[in-house]
């Protein structure tokens, strides 16, 4: 009876039924971060759900939910949209399943370059790339006769000039919110300086050195050119700052360009907002930025039928040429048929310049956590760079010992 009803409903309302991938059973429940490209991706996969149950949770708190939700057996979610960093805790706890058989069976449109393989096994299918890069106000730079900055030293010089002219008080912005965001800025800048977070082949920390000090000093210089509340500003907050016209130079995620350049807000600011590649730092030749991919993973603690249904729905989106054409503005899609638009400049430049991916190491999360809380006092001027880095290493070592990495 229910089946008949469902079929009838589809006949009545179901334009989406045409995109049906003929999934007959199983239930699909997806956990994902919350930004426009992921919403588009999940919506596209929903078109193909067939008669399977379909649920989705979009949350910016996805990192906090993921491990507990996937540890349960059966797990709450059948799929988790993850990125380079968030796949690591899932791998550490053995919570996701290899996808080789499913890729072979249902992954016809997926390109080989989209497959994330670890030890020869496909663990995730990537569909978009992301990075943090520079945004600038063309009108302001032109008025002041400043060339588009290519290095962070030039960003500092340009910002100082803008401030000196009295045009803007806090001309630079980046997400320096204490915690994850701030640590991410450190990671970018440290990699730009050519730093390695761990001594090679071990989990021993390796940040308390000249490169670490240079990284902190650059972060401090930039923070002094930012709104004094910078320690509470995340990506959303600096986006608002930008849209109110308070900022001329900004380091922000490529995935945010869609909402930054939409029709909301002052059209003059939107028109003058231009994107460019990430900056280098300290005379280095690789950008002070990390490359990220977003891809889907499937929960291990879920019946095979659910995994199959989920994979088919998500693979439908991960190989959907129509989606990447319609939503070309929302992300840099890794899917076949994507034609990069003006909003993809940042990521494409970053790749061209040889940017490194965010380190996918089992102990990196602990380092990221230690950075997020221990470098704050340096930025506040309460301790020296060396002391801050010493604290980072000490905090990391205690945590790594408790987790059994050291």
């Amino acid at each position: 009876m229910r089946k008949i009803l469902v079929t009838l409903l589809f006949l009545l309302f179901g334009t989406s039924a045409f995109a049906d991938c003929n999934i007959k059973s199983g239930s699909i429940n997806i956990l994902a971060n919350d930004f426009p490209a992921l919403r588009t991706f999940v919506e596209t996969s929903k078109q193909c759900k067939g008669s399977a149950d379909f649920k989705v949770t979009h949350s910016s708190e996805h990192n906090k939910i993921a491990v507990p939700a996937l540890t349960a057996n059966p797990s709450e979610f059948s799929a988790r949209i993850a990125a380079n960093s968030s796949i690591v805790p899932l791998m550490n706890q053995d919570l996701i399943r290899p996808l080789d058989d499913l890729v072979k069976k249902y992954g016809k449109g997926i390109q080989d370059s989209q497959l994330i393989t670890i030890d020869g096994k496909v663990m995730a299918v990537a569909f978009m790339a992301n990075t943090q890069h520079l945004y600038y106000r063309e009108d302001v730079l032109k008025d002041m006769g400043i060339a588009v900055p290519k290095t962070y030293e030039e960003v500092v010089a340009a910002s100082e000039k803008i401030r000196a002219s009295g045009k803007m008080q806090y001309p630079y912005a980046a997400a320096y919110k204490a915690g994850w965001n701030l640590a991410e800025e450190f990671v970018n800048m440290f990699i730009g300086h050519g730093g390695e977070f761990f001594k090679s082949g071990s989990a021993e920390p390796n940040v308390n050195n000249a490169k670490g000090v240079a990284t902190l000093n650059m972060l401090k210089k930039l923070s002094e050119l930012s709104n004094p509340d910078y320690l509470t500003h995340d990506s959303e907050a600096i986006k608002v700052e930008w849209e109110s016209g308070n900022v001329a130079l900004m380091t922000l995620w490529a995935s945010r360009s869609g909402t930054l350049l939409d029709d909301e807000g002052d059209p003059n600011i939107t028109k003058a907002t231009k994107l460019t590649g990430p900056a280098t730092v300290g005379g280095g030749n690789i950008p002070a930025a990390t490359l990220w991919w977003d891809g889907f993973t499937l929960a291990k603690n879920r019946p095979d039928a659910d995994a199959e249904a989920t994979f088919r729905a998500l693979a439908h989106a991960a190989s959907n040429k129509k989606m990447v054409a319609d939503a070309a503005d929302q992300a840099v899609w890794l899917v076949e048929g994507f034609v990069p638009g003006p909003k993809s400049i940042g990521v494409i430049e970053a790749v061209k310049m040889g940017a490194k991916p965010y380190p996918m190491l089992p102990q990196m999360g602990l380092m990221h956590g230690a950075l997020g809380s221990e470098i704050v006092e340096f930025l506040q001027g309460k301790e020296s760079a060396e002391q801050a880095l010493k604290d980072v290493e000490a905090a990391y070592i205690s945590k790594a010992k408790e987790q059994g990495f050291l």
């Binding site: 805790p89 393989t117 030890d119 004094p228 602990l366 506040q380 059994g404």
Partner: protein
């Protein structure tokens, strides 16, 4: 009430307490003595859209074997309690031997995460609790004195801070003190310093959180005190008025002794609440400048991509011990009074 009646009366509550409070505390206590097993890692090839690298992953087969044999983890004793992120015993010894002045030693110790959090937590308790008691009492007295007609609306207005969800309350204030918010911008104007930010200065953040705490908790003290004031007998007060006692003398010698047990009760509850200060730190995004013990537990459980159960459990146990120590004087006093009363 006969003991037997009391026993049956208390039984359901007692069972629920054991089940939902007692057992979890015991389980947390046990967990705090364990750490994760040594991670078995192996080098593998990893490929993503940006290329291939050789790096390490956790060897899940090996790890799951060890985990099955010992699901609780590696016994660590007081290892987690004494490590740098908690009591930091070794570090403190080192600082004591290395630093030259006591000031430098204190500086070094307060730079350790646990002590940093402890100091904020204690400062918060120390400033908020007495002020809440005082303010609550003053409001209760004043409201008790106004005409009955307008008392209702006034009482409602006064308890509003308690009705507003802590997170929402702190967010409202957070936006007001933004450098472009109504309070933040005015302070900048007043001080003539465009770089002044209530949110980036540690001292100002602490003051903001403490003021918020007083604002949020006073209504509770007020409500209890106001109820207690209704029970103050009128005869001795009238007698005191005839004897020519001033308003202050009446309060000091008649009202306060009468409601003294209630004051103890409010002090106890406030101390316990304040020692667990947490929401304002999140609401004010003040993690950078102010960390409390509860925030440390939260940080260990959710902020890291790797969950540190041992650390969180150890901090929880120490928070419980901390509350016990803080409450000890009041509890001992109540116990003594109880004994003499018998």
């Amino acid at each position: 009430m006969p003991n037997k009646t009391f026993f049956w009366f208390f039984l359901p509550t007692g069972l629920a307490m054991i089940l939902f409070i007692g057992l979890p505390i015991i389980s947390t206590g046990i967990q705090s003595f364990y750490a994760q097993h040594d991670q078995v890692v192996k080098e593998v090839k990893k490929c993503d859209p940006f290329g291939c690298t050789v790096s390490i992953v956790v060897d899940n087969e090996e790890t799951s074997k060890i985990r099955e044999a010992k699901p609780l983890g590696k016994f660590n004793g007081f290892g987690t309690y004494t490590d740098r992120n908690h009591l930091a015993v070794d570090e403190i010894k080192k600082f004591w031997n290395e630093t030259e002045s006591f000031g430098a030693f204190v500086d070094q110790v307060t730079n350790l995460p646990f002590y940093k959090a402890l100091i904020f937590t204690l400062t918060y308790c120390l400033f908020v609790t007495p002020n809440v008691l005082l303010l609550g009492f003053i409001i209760a007295l004043s409201l008790n004195a106004v005409a009955r007609k307008i008392r209702g609306p006034l009482i409602f207005g006064t308890i509003l801070p308690m009705i507003v969800t802590p997170l929402v309350g702190s967010l409202v204030l957070f936006w007001m003190i933004d450098s472009q918010g109504i309070i933040g911008a005015n302070i900048q104007n007043l001080m003539d310093d465009p770089y002044l930010s209530l949110k980036s200065s540690k001292t100002l953040t602490w003051i903001t959180i403490i003021i918020y705490g007083i604002w949020h908790h006073s209504p509770f003290a007020f409500v209890v005190f106001y109820a207690a004031l209704q029970t103050v007998p009128q005869e001795p007060i009238e007698a005191a008025i005839i004897d020519g006692a001033s308003r202050f003398q009446r309060i000091k010698h008649i009202v306060l002794p009468h409601i003294y047990p209630v004051v103890t009760f409010v002090a106890l509850i406030s101390l316990m609440d304040n020692f667990r200060v947490f929401e304002p730190i999140i609401g004010f995004s003040a993690e950078g400048s102010a960390q409390s013990l509860s925030w440390l537990i939260y940080d260990n459980l959710v902020n890291e991509e790797v969950i540190l159960f041992g650390s969180a459990a150890a901090t929880s146990m120490m928070t419980i011990i901390g509350i016990a120590i803080l409450l000890a004087p009041v509890l001992i006093r109540t116990w003594k009074e109880f004994k003499t009363a018998r």
